[in-house]
């Protein structure tokens, strides 16, 4: 029972316009409108669930943790790459419909689901694991300063929001893309790692870091707040001058 002092929070109707495509039945994608009753503090993911659970069970998207740590639900919301579970309705302009479409540059499999394999392959190609020749029997030491050097890029959740916001990636799917470079950065600047040269060779390729045009889309898109463009610039510097 609501306490007399409790503020009454009003719900309101929101229109979502979702780009839908099911290759089993559709010859091309189409935009479909849905009206849902939501609260401002609800997430876009809640709105998608409400549509799926109450109106159209065939609406398809990936999701898991629902609080921005698993990286499943990157999508394009009103033209910007975001996680649906980290985007609150009240932070969007609710006088307008909310446009939702899959992230760009990867093949659409169904509705908001894209084929992530090219993205994962680029990640694997940079050797995303510690390369060290020592065989320690106890913990390696690392100073807090050395640990801080690569802290930012350890936050990556492989959601692909950065890579699929990059205009270079849209036109050239061979480009490694920001996320792969972020993960290379995480090891290149780890004082315990000996694989910097190998990764630098890989990223010095014509599809490597030099394709970056510094548009900062990736930095704006990152739901973890990683300074992606800065990380790419640091990898460029490492190629030119060696790891610093």
């Amino acid at each position: 029972m609501a306490n007399a002092a409790a503020p009454v929070i009003d719900s309101f109707t929101v229109t979502l316009i979702i780009r839908r495509f099911n290759p089993e039945v559709d010859s091309e994608p189409k935009w479909v409108d849905y009206d849902v009753e939501m609260y401002g503090t609800d997430r876009v993911l809640d709105a998608l669930h409400k549509i799926k659970w109450e109106q159209d069970g065939s609406l398809t998207f990936r999701r898991s943790c629902a609080h921005g740590v698993c990286g499943s639900d990157a999508m394009r919301i009103n033209g910007r790459n975001r996680l649906a579970c980290k985007t609150l309705i009240k932070d969007l302009d609710i006088s307008q419909p909310i446009y939702v479409e899959p992230i760009k540059g990867l093949p659409v499999e169904k509705d908001l689901i894209v084929d992530m394999n090219p993205f994962y392959q680029a990640y694997k190609d940079i050797n995303p694991f510690l390369i060290a020749s020592d065989k320690p029997t106890k913990e390696r030491l690392q100073s807090p300063e050395d640990r801080a050097r690569y802290d930012d890029t350890t936050k990556c959740i492989l959601c692909a929001a950065c890579t699929t916001s990059c205009p270079v990636f849209w036109t050239d799917g061979q480009y490694f893309g920001p996320a792969a470079i972020v993960n290379a950065h995480r090891f290149i600047f780890d004082s315990r790692d000996e694989g910097a040269e190998l990764r630098i060779d890989i990223l010095n390729d014509k599809e490597g870091v030099w394709r970056c045009r510094t548009t900062f889309n990736c930095t704006e898109a990152c739901p973890r707040g990683i300074e992606v463009t800065k990380a790419i610039a640091e990898v460029k510097q490492a190629i030119l001058r060696g790891r610093a």
């Binding site: 994962y120 694997k124 320690p136 936050k155 492989l158």
Partner: protein, 592 residues
Amino acid sequence: MPQQETADSNITYHTFDVLIVGAGGAGMRAAIEAGADAKVGVISKLFPTRSHTGAAQGGMAAALANVEEDSWEWHTFDTVKGGDYLVDQDAAEILAKESVQAVIDLENMGLPFNRTPEGKIDQRRFGGHTRDHGKAPVRRSCYAADRTGHMILQTLYQNCVKLGIDFYNEFYVLDLVMNDGKPAGVVAYELATGDIHVFSSKSIVFATGGFGKIYKTTSNAHTLTGDGVAIAFRRGIPLEDMEFYQFHPTGLAGLGILLSEAARGEGGILRNASGERFMERYAPTIKDLAPRDMVARAMANEVREGRGAGPNKDYVLLDLTHLEPAVIDAKLPDITEFARTYLGVEPYTEPVPVFPTAHYAMGGIPTNIKAEVLSDNDTVIPGLYAAGECACVSVHGANRLGTNSLLDINVFGKRAGQYSVEYAKTAKQVPMPANAADDVIAMIEKVRKSKGKEKIAQLRKELQDSMDKNAQVFRTEETLQEAIEKIQELRGRYENIAIQDQGKRFNTDLLEAIELGFLLDLAEVTVVACRERRESRGAHLREDYPDRDDKKFMVHSMVYQQDKVQKKTGTNMKIGWKPVVVTNYQPMERKY
């Protein structure tokens, strides 16, 4: 059209030495251990780094003694006492002894732990972890900011990539194939295509995680529907200690999103509406760092007695305002951002509204210390293993200590890898029956063709509402009976469901229906075990039996599925009991 396609669809067959179901921390740790010596496959309903290990925040316990005196024996004692003496003490000793190597393994694999000024792995305080048998809190939790689970998951996946482990991602395992009581493999559904795959393997490791989605307010992911646990149960394996479900004290109020206990480890304080530090009344020695069951109960009690905060007096406050913003930024960056994003609260200057959230299953598939699955109190099922939250070994007893789950997945995940690969070296493959996939195909077709009136989301909501109302922190015979009746009603209505997506590609509509079937099974087991344990212990509080009763209930519960309705439980579930392994610690009153 789609109906026909499925009936005709090809079945793809695969063969492995070691097959791991689940790609969270336990599954990938097992894969790394088994990977070098055998043909290893990992099946996961998610891409591996989406697994819920990644949501764990605060740390991983190990008596490294990097920052102050500590010992594995103290850690063992804390684990046993934290579990309200229902812990199997031989397993707890292994957990504590092998913790040090488990942390070193991760560091050596590349995990970026926070460091001390000398460059060693830094450690911090956590609930229930104490110096010298309860004298004071001890710094035992190894951590990487407040994303320790994320770093463990990433590091384990990175090492699986390095080893070239074979993953089957977005494959839903829907059945365990037993041939004459021996495990032959599993049957999986491929999300992308709707195709069926039959995997034969000499050893099978279940590492499928938890099932928090039986509750409404939970820190768990949408995908945590207990598939592996339910599949094992349907194939005759009992489930152990299912009445012990942990409610984490600090979920974001109304949402259930986890705010790590590390917030209190770093000095955060819980306050009621009048600003009182109420934990001083409930646990005078270690206060806010009491174990989770005690803190969650204290919070619920404050609210129940009218001392809750907020307009509806339905939550308490987590106060971090006395901490330096720089400390918050360095050690608790993610959780403070959750408070900003989801509640619009600035933790530098305002206390954060929190309330207990369904978090972790202490119970699950019974195993021994080699991670072998048991078919009763002590009979091993050769070739079948389980580790992590889906398993009950039991190191957590009636209440798990914070940071012991990231430890559990590493210690017993590693053991599952070791023992499963050792077994596969000499074992013969159990023959896969020709009709192995029939049950799964029938189950899928039944759901796909369903044309009833009930909506899956509605049934799931009613289940979760009933579990929150009747089987949360406080429980009585009446509430549990109400929950059982509700679940049975929902089972009836589940026979009359409808789904809308009849297609084959990425049919998550169909899978949500199948997942609800798993949730109904596990909710019922949970509630039956809750009702049969007529005492209060750890996370299980029976208001009608408020005391711990060691004479009758210093035993694990074991719930079995039967063909017929059982007189005692009023369901088709039979309850048995299993002795607790006691080595050094006799039960004592649990005070902090």
